[in-house]
Symmetry: D3
Subunit: 272 residues, 6 copies
């Protein structure tokens, strides 16, 4: 059984040309073989929610998955499918938003972590694209540690989860401020929209100048959010975004998170 | 509010060249406009689980999403992101399987349905790629109807969900029997593997002749499953699969489900 | 402890004259002795819900329990009390219906299975009288297997549950079609009403000719159900039912399920 | 709708000869008619658990149902099917015990009460046969009141539940003390065993002299219970029980609870 | 590990002058040392709810904590912080009441008991100040025993919880009847108010003569409660209360519960 | 009803000499009167967990409550009792720690918020003393907003919650860095210990020089935490703490949070 002894915890290294980093395109014997030399795995976590009058509803899942795959390719760490539905209760006032309640998302991430831990994965690296997921994801990690310990899961004491928000990585935030200043805002930001333009060029057709956005502020319930932010934006000007910017953000995010992941896979997992 | 009056329920019709059928690439005003002429939506539901020694772990999510997108393109009905993690407790004995407990998947689908219903969606068409999801999905629909009624959600009495398993559509099953006979089996089947080969040609490299599979049988817990089905297959010979077969299965599934969806969107939603 | 080693799994055989097959009329030492030679048990699962303008609200529990007891008498396998409340959310628009939410019924069956497994029962045979329970019961089995494995319950790998719907047994369905043709319908059917007339002759007094029933169709929420099926029937003509028919259905169901149970108790439990 | 206006709350009166008091043998239009003149209903609540070396595992469900039906016949108040599985965690150390966790039983009773309240039932009278259910049943009532109020259920402010333990009714306890003195004990008592002998004469064959029982004491977990009470009894001598005694207990319990129910159905429901 | 072997179970004895009985003012090594000679602990459980027009909303938490601390000082058994929010759904019709749903309080007490059990505490003595908590607390104990056994927690078979309501201790109830007769009532009673006056003399300023209270009666939902008990009292005359009375009640309660706790800590824990 | 119209949202102002700011010492009519001029309320949230070899287990609850009461006195905003048990799963490896699972704490805060919202409170200001609570508290707020909206609670759109961690207030963190530099650390910090020394001078007796603490690092499960931080400290030197320091921290925290609360109670509640 792969899970009974601690495994090596170094980064496998960049994937060769045709090698596949997506867990979903691997077979189970390949995963078993992988576990013999690496106990790390990347889980992309997104959301499906309004991103202003011109942004794609799937922005947070698209970006999280893209960054995750790029980090996977660079480090050789396997990437699971994305959890595309996240905690977006406050965006439910806008058509198309699909939200899991916090208690539901907590259960999802708990079950994902425990499934992976059962196989011997010891370092679960969640690459997240949505601020609204942060609190629930952290709560889910604590719940999962508790269950693993209570069940006496082999390796429970070596199980570690880490939440990595690509959009708050230092270099990403600095670049966004440099390029967009205050107009970066806090939701439907030009940086995340730029990344979607890079990934899905057809989205460029939606881009158009917008009136000044309502300012960012605290987030409460869906009615309150819609009243404060009538078009869904929080202080942002997504018209500033370009696909080229998006390529740059992807590069910066992937670099920063690859380093962070390497530290997380190290002996003490002391990333961050 | 889109949700307070019953909406038209005809199929929008095939998407024009560049039109986007993925909800995740639409903006919220586009979804609001869409709701003015169609109250239907497609939700792909997969699983992330072992598919025998050569099959892709993501088979059920890849296939469900591909069929869903093709049905969407043909009917003009929007497609949400896929829920890639499903109920696969019995496959947890094989590395790489990620499973939500039934109670968790029930909560996920409940929340997804209620999010959509809140916006005025009245016909939720779940295209499913995994037999293990069927029971829980049906239970989730019943739970969602109950919550919608208990909350007095506008339009609760018009809310309808339907589970469409692409792999049990009549033409698909007939074609599989014609092509593979008994060697279709019940898990890691050549029909589903064929579809993945069509979608991801790189998977062809994993194909190799396999010894005869353990016969199919009832499904219980993970240890029992692995004991009965040591390489993960249930009576199937996935080496028979080809990408061309997969293209055919996609065509058959999309045709069958598009018709089923049209009936579901009709006045009484009496598909099936 | 009875649960630590696998037990014999043959059918005990028909009960002698005065022998009692109901678990509720046995003492605990008798159950302990029973476990030394048989690890199977039958759990009747019903529902308490409207059955048309003339049918008994308890139809599904009455019939499930009657079939279960007859199967018990023929096979010698113990029968627990019936769970009379099932998942009947869609019938809540009719007075007298009592429904457990899917999440609640899932918890009930989960706890029943784990209680039995704790004593060493390894084959849980649920005889079900209500279509609405099927999905949730299957989900509950999966949840129970998961818990048993996670807790390291002795014998977890030998625990098997099976859902047997008496009304979908082949001989029962054939007989119903032969006798009633299309007027069998799908809810408040003459076959199930006939069985209640056999069991409770006083119910015959409720029988009266009814206008043609609304046709069967998909099942959604309670308001939708009542609108489509104003008197509660789905395409059925229960006035065709007689007590004699009921005796025949009981015979057919008990024969079919006794064979199915014997197979389930066999070495590989491969019934169905 | 029956539920929008307060209904009359007097006892219907004893049932005529052939009239049926069991909800499960009524049709939905009959229940609707019943609600026009009475808003009360009886729910029998039992347990399926060891009752000493000679007592029936189903004692608590058998007795609760028998008392409920007799109270129903005397008062004309409808009786639902029994919930035969209760909270018996502490008896799980004895073969045959089936227990719902407290959280599960809480959900069951919550759903039963809300189902009934939806139809306009306003006085839910739970006749209970098992001490272990008392705490959870009371908690469930509080949870149900909260849900009814939170959902704005019509008639929420008139919804009242009452738990009536037949075995703690004053006349019953006095009779038991008179007949058995200290040997009544606290579990597998001669009074409850007597009632089962009256209801199921075949149980008499199990009766035999027993050594002195372990004394009653506080109840904790299942291992602790079995250690303190090795044969399952708590201070009782069930060999004292006779079927004639049982008939007397049934008479006493039915008389006491019929009066209590009449008071509960009165304008202020101030029974007890 | 302190939890693997049974610990001594005698009362440590009264605390010396400056010794601290509050767990919250101890360090973890001190608790570890304490566990080497005593496995008992006191948990005060209160509620935050209306107590009539003049009583303090925090009455039940204030009194439970005061009694708990006095019992702790006399016996040397450690006292945890109070759980100040309890189950008070029926008081939610009055401003300031804060209630946990029964299912929530059940989870809280379950987690508290399991946390303590993990460290080796074997006798959890909950001193309760609120009648509405009783049912849920007992249900929580049963749930906790079940979890401890299912998880195979070391010492699960020695884990015992006991609920001690200070206000129903025999000497307390006798004193209250002697002092106030029928005007003791059942909510916002002079005895509990007296204790708060002793603990918080400033509360005396709220005392004023009140009209006769509505009589006590059964408790249902919040609207029903407010309708029956318009000022929140149930048959009580809290104006009778004095701080001196309160001192007397504290003395009586602490004496009675200290004896009860000593018995509970004895070899068989047979208090009550 | 206080909850149907938006209330004024200004800070009441400092309490006069004898005025009581604790909700628990108020009567319900006083709270009703308070709501006529202020819709804000403070909820102290702590934890009961190890704080190193010399720190008090109740540090986080003691400090949160002390800061909350001081903020209450300065602003005139009512303070509820403290929730003393928080999310401390990672500290369960040390004797005396009592932890609520994240799902439990989520339910507690959800219920507390909804209880308060029912009375018309619209600004729930949670003063928190424990980093481990942050994620779960934020998740609970989102869950509460969702429930309030789903239930159609009057004022749902005006309900706002805010989490204020006294120990991360800017002036507090600056002062801690100034006084202790790197030796402030991240758990069992001199700043929080100092505050407890100020509040409970007897704790000073536990102070003693300690060896250098293990460095701070990421937090995972309880076994991992204890292995990395054998005496419970994370990089801190609590021996540096003095009661005078504590008085200063209380002053700084109360000043900062009083300003933050005033902004939160303002028209747009845009604190932070």
């Amino acid at each position: 059984m792969p899970s009974t002894a601690p495994g090596p915890s170094t980064v496998p290294g960049p994937v060769a040309g045709s090698e596949e980093i997506r867990l979903q395109l691997r077979s189970w014997p390949e995963v078993e073989a992988y576990l013999a030399h690496c106990r790390g795995v990347i889980v992309p976590l997104g959301s499906t929610e309004q991103h202003g009058p011109t942004g794609a509803i799937g922005t947070d899942a698209l970006t999280a998955e893209a960054v995750a795959l790029e980090v996977g390719r660079r480090t050789g760490v396997l990437v699971t499918p994305a959890q595309a539905f996240g905690m977006a209760e406050h965006h439910l006032g806008f058509a198309g938003t699909i939200s899991l309640q916090p208690s539901t998302l907590l259960a999802v991430l708990h079950d994902v972590v425990l499934s992976l831990a059962r196989h011997g994965f010891e370092r679960i690296y969640v690459i997240n694209g949505h601020g609204g997921n942060i609190a629930t994801a952290r709560a889910a990690f604590a719940q999962a540690y508790g269950t693993a310990a209570a069940r006496g899961l082999p390796g429970a004491e070596r199980l570690r989860c880490r939440l990595a928000n690509w959009f708050t990585a230092g270099p990403v935030m600095r670049e966004a401020r440099d390029r967009y200043g205050e107009r970066e805002g806090h939701h439907a930001t030009p940086s995340e929209i730029a990344l979607t333009l890079h990934l899905e060029p057809s989205l460029t057709a939606k881009q158009r100048p917008l009136p000044e956005a309502a300012p960012a502020g605290p987030i409460h319930g869906p009615e309150d959010f819609r009243r404060r932010h009538p078009d869904g934006r929080m202080g942002s000007d997504p018209f500033l975004a370009t696909a080229d910017d998006g390529a740059r953000f992807l590069e910066l995010a992937a670099t920063a998170l690859s380093e962070d992941l390497a530290a997380f896979l190290g002996p003490e997992g002391d990333a961050g």
